[in-house]
């Protein structure tokens, strides 16, 4: 990915990258402060406060935090169950922090999976996620229909022995588009989602509907099209018997003919990528 790093980033991409960095910094800081007894609500509030201090005023969605078997969405039936609860963190519990801040008009949407103490199963899940990151990029570069990539990811998960947990997200999406958002003085949230961001998504959906694509990358027929240029927040989510793990980061898709240029991860210097490189080096 040396070429991707060397690529001259447009001002826009730099802005997105900075926001994503900010969000991952937040995730790492908050994760370092998690102790036994902290509740999901407290963890979500910590993320929110940390980001507000650094100038975040608007959200694609408010921070989420899931602990224990909630990382695998065990028993989730209605979307309200995604919201943070009073579940307390215990030693050995896996956790996921998921946040989507908007910073100076640039949106990021990240997911950070970790565990309080060593947990061999969780480590296995994190290692297995690496294959998904590679698979997704490879198939997007091949310009495969999104629906088929979705099915390939699911097949890989099943082969690995995991369950596809991003199916639990609204519309079962593995990814959704994000974009620039105009900064408003007042931007309320509806069910945790920023109205500005939702507006952006809706206008994308409208435009996509005319042109034959969708800003939601789902297993359904409306995703049966090649990747549309833009920024995609990709979030494969594995679950295995009460342990869940995911990553979420921005994938840049362009209309370039050069495969390397046609799609790349916005940033390769992220905690879950670094962890893998360290593992490989070791």
């Amino acid at each position: 990915m040396a070429s991707a790093v060397a690529r001259e980033l447009t001002a826009d991409l730099r802005g997105f990258k900075e926001t994503q960095r900010l969000a991952y910094d937040c995730a790492e800081e908050v994760a370092a402060q998690l102790r036994p007894g902290v509740t999901e609500r407290e963890a979500a509030r910590m993320q929110r406060a940390w980001l507000r201090e650094r100038g975040v005023r608007d959200w694609f969605h408010l921070p989420f935090a899931w602990f224990g078997d909630r990382t695998a969405f065990v028993g989730f039936r209605v979307p309200l169950q995604f919201f943070p609860t009073d579940r307390r963190l215990e030693p050995g519990m896996p956790f996921i922090l998921d946040m989507a801040p908007v910073h100076r008009g640039f949106t990021a949407d990240i997911g950070y999976a970790g565990c309080l103490g060593p947990h061999p199963l969780h480590e296995l899940l994190m290692a297995d996620l690496r294959e998904h990151r590679e698979l997704i990029l490879r198939e997007v570069r091949e310009r495969r229909p999104l629906r088929e990539i979705y099915e390939d990811v699911e097949r890989l998960m099943v082969r690995q022995g995991h369950a596809n947990r991003h199916r639990a997200y609204p519309f079962g999406v593995i990814a959704h588009k994000v974009g620039r958002i105009r900064e408003r003085r007042w931007s309320p949230q509806v069910f945790g989602f920023g109205t500005q961001a939702l507006r952006g998504l809706a206008s994308d959906a409208l435009r996509g509907h005319r042109e034959g694509w969708s800003p939601l990358w789902s297993p359904h027929r409306f995703s049966d099209h090649p990747p549309a240029p833009g920024l995609w927040a990709v979030e494969p989510h594995l679950g295995f018997r009460g342990v869940g793990a995911k990553f979420e980061e921005l994938l840049v898709v362009t209309d370039s003919r050069d495969p390397e240029e046609s799609a790349f991860w916005l940033d390769d210097d992220l905690p879950h990528v670094r962890r893998r490189q360290e593992e490989r080096a070791a």
Binding site: P120, L121, L124, E151, E154, R155, V158, R159, Q160, G161, A163, R167, P219, F240, R241
Partner: protein, 591 residues
Amino acid sequence: MRAGTEGARERWVRTGGIELCVQELGDASRPTVLLLHGYPDSKEVWSEVAERLRDRFHVVLYDIRGCGRSTAPLPLRGGFTLEKLTDDFLAVAEAVSPDAPVHLVGHDWGSVQGWEFATARRTEGRVASFTSISGPSLDHLALWLRRRATRPTPRRVAQLLSQSARSWYVYALHTPVLPEALMRGPLLKRWPKILARLEKLPSDGYPTESLATDAAHGAWLYRDNIRARMRRPRTDAYAHAPVQLITPTGDVFLSDRLYDGLEEWAPGLVRHTLAAKHWVPRSRPDQVSAWIAEFVAERERGAGGPAGRASAPAGPYAQAFGGRLVLVTGAASGIGRATAFAFAEAGARVIAVDRDPEGAVRTAEMARLLGAPEAAAETVDVSDEAAMEKLAAKVAAEHGVVDILVNNAGIGLAGAFLDTSAEEWRKILDVNLWGVVHGCRVFGRQMAERGQGGHIVNTASAAAFQPSRFLTAYSTSKAAVLMLSECLRAELAGKGIGVTAICPGIVNTGITATARFTGVSEDEQRQLRKKAVRLYGRRNYPPEKVAEAVLRAVHRDQAVVPVTPEAHGLRLMSRFTPRLLRALARIDLPL
């Protein structure tokens, strides 16, 4: 004497005017395991277990006073109190293991004594651990009864009545003279037959000659202790050693509710259940000795005090399947894999068998991470008879006899009968039917020969009772599996082996991705598969729920288990509205 006591060193321990016959097996420098027999038994009740433990431990057995070859106190009345039995125990322990505390194992009255020794103050430091089988502490029992009698709720009253009914023999034994007369007379001759018939014990020379005196003298165990302890139970009977409880679920003398809340008296209690009747030392020696050995070895390593093991498998089935050997075919994906994981989570030892070596290895690896103490992968095609025979021999040599066999491997085939070639028929029957037949034959035989029970689960399908014009071959193969399971269940019932047919229904597994569609071009084949995968994906019934049903079925020994709602519906319809089912059968492939 039987093989169990061959090579035993015998000695006599004198205490309080009585001579106790003590036998020792194995290296005396190893940890001492002391086996206590019940009523009406002698130490030979443990011969099978002792035989299995003697290589790893210093095994000690003795006839309690008045039983077997030990002498009886005079007068009998008042000679069998728990206090005197404690004296006996201390004398034996002092003789066989003067320096180290001993690991107690008690069955029936041996367990009642064991509880006394594990909770009395003066035995503190002499007991390293205690494994209790089918015998409560009399103090705990008294308090259990009292609690239920003084604060009755409907449930408590039911529990109380249930146990009171099971205790009929206790009341009977309080009758003077008559029980002794019966035991010396007509009952004596019939006793081995009664045991064989009602308790399904192997008739292999046990009980021994001393049965008449065992039974007659042993009656004083009840007369000397029950009334006294029921009237004035000790309220400080807390265990000073770690306790393991093995509960046979089919015990006709003791309700398993007796052990509710036992953790209060024995913190860190380790529980196991066994689908068997009262005399498990004789009917299930393999499993009983495996649990004893594991428990004792763990205490010897110093792993966890009474507080117990941190990583012990929990969950509703851990008691029933912990340490059992489970073999699952078709374990590289779908229902097989989920079943292997569910058993692993319950602490079972798992062998994952599949054609796909990579998938099987992956299943075994993850099973180990989930808590299986042992997990192995084997690459075998279930339709290959010779390979299955070889597998059975290998598994028996390396892991022992399989306790639970899950014949799950299967393939899908869709298409009209007239489009299905003979080759395709052969292939599907080879895997779906012959695979199950081979599995049941080789592993079922091992189970039956061992004679210690077991369970076989065969994966049939809702298609086994739903005819259909586009699943002729598949439905035929699965219907055969269903009938095979039902017949086998009848045949093996007498041997304590349960057989279950699981009928899942539409479950989101890899079977659709590999299913064949007959009479179509390769291109169409791919399209149809894709559509089938999406259809099953939309239904999205997870294989984990089927695995859950498998564990429940084994636990409850169910015969036919439909899993998804549609499977339940179809089964009901097949019973009550078969014509409707036939009408459904005419609908063509919904793809």
